[in-house]
């Protein structure tokens, strides 16, 4: 049996460790929220890590970090590490969310109420 045929435990922490090169994602979580919208700013290249290329491919239109995690089937902590790499290389744009720890303003809530009424 060749090495490629060996079962690779898809849930193994070791596998995720390889994808992130050992980074935990804790530092990156301050930059990326579940609903930070990500837009690709460059095309994937053949030499790129496949996970990075996959993110660029699916983010042609804005996509939240949670959706990227769902489509790639990777945990949030892994996705945020990969996004931090791409952001550092200016290959993606991260669109800001509402600032933390303050109540949303009336205009935002009015927009949400109006949007829900159309649902």
């Amino acid at each position: 049996m060749s090495a490629a045929d060996q079962d690779w435990d898809e849930d193994s922490p070791e596998r995720l460790y390889v994808i992130t090169r050992g980074r935990s994602g804790l530092a990156e979580r301050t930059t990326f929220d579940l609903v930070t919208l990500i837009v690709a700013r460059s095309e994937p290249t053949p030499t790129m890590q496949p996970e990075h290329a996959a993110i660029l491919r699916i983010c042609g239109s804005p996509l939240s970090v949670a959706e990227i995690s769902a489509h790639l089937r990777l945990p949030m902590s892994v996705v945020t590490v990969l996004l931090a790499d791409l952001l550092a290389e200016k290959r993606i744009e991260a669109r800001a969310r509402v600032p933390k720890a303050i109540l949303p303003d009336h205009a935002l809530l009015e927009a949400v109420i109006h949007g829900l009424q159309k649902l």
Partner: protein
């Protein structure tokens, strides 16, 4: 978990793409005990087929203190369903349903951070599962409304009886819903938004 290689990651369907103008996203979190209808509500209001995101947590991080006989730290994958509602060309609302196991809700990094607010879903047949989460939301300052999901066999209580049973302050809205219908689920989110609107400072002139 099975990461698919770059070529096999399909990504969103073309009908599910957000417009390029989408500039900001906000989120609300649905909490409640197992089987109370969180996933049903998310599915009812979402414009996309609900998706699932995951986080890896170590048992130590998950608050398990009984480590007798555990040789090494094991990790647990916790999944959370979510849906999406496009509010307008620029603003998107995401609705997250918390995982079944309550002990993970407040450990999921950044789940409540930045959330507009929360919906506590209760099953009137099993109110006790909601006590702890209500207390923790109050402690963390996340504004919330309570939605009683009415199952066919649910006993009906007057709102004030529910308020007393859940020991809720008078200002917290309580609504009933049928999470299977879009309109009813939408009204739950609407009740939360109206409550937040009343809580937030009026615009300064």
């Amino acid at each position: 978990m099975d990461f698919r290689s770059s070529e096999t990651v399909l990504g969103p369907e073309s009908a599910d793409l957000l417009p390029a103008s989408a500039a900001m996203a906000v989120k609300v979190v649905i909490v409640g005990g197992f089987g109370v209808g969180k996933t049903t509500l998310v599915g009812s209001v979402s414009e996309i087929r609900p998706l699932s995101t995951e986080e890896t947590m170590t048992q130590a991080g998950a608050g398990v203190d009984d480590t007798a006989g555990v040789e090494r730290k094991t990790s647990t994958t916790v999944a959370m369903d979510f849906g999406r509602i496009s509010i307008n060309d620029e603003l998107v609302l995401y609705v997250f349903g918390t995982p079944g196991q309550e002990r993970f809700w407040f450990l999921w990094n950044g789940l409540f951070e930045g959330a507009l607010g929360a919906v506590v879903m209760v099953d009137t047949r099993r109110l006790e599962v909601s006590f702890d989460v209500i207390g923790r939301l109050e402690d963390s300052g996340v504004p919330f409304v309570v939605a009683a999901n009415i199952f066919p066999e649910s006993p009906t209580y007057p709102t004030e009886a529910l308020r007393a049973a859940l020991d809720l302050p008078p200002e917290v809205p309580i609504v009933t819903c049928d999470a299977r219908t879009r309109e009813s689920s939408r009204d739950v989110l609407m009740a939360l938004m109206r409550y937040l609107y009343n809580l937030s400072a009026p615009p300064t002139r």
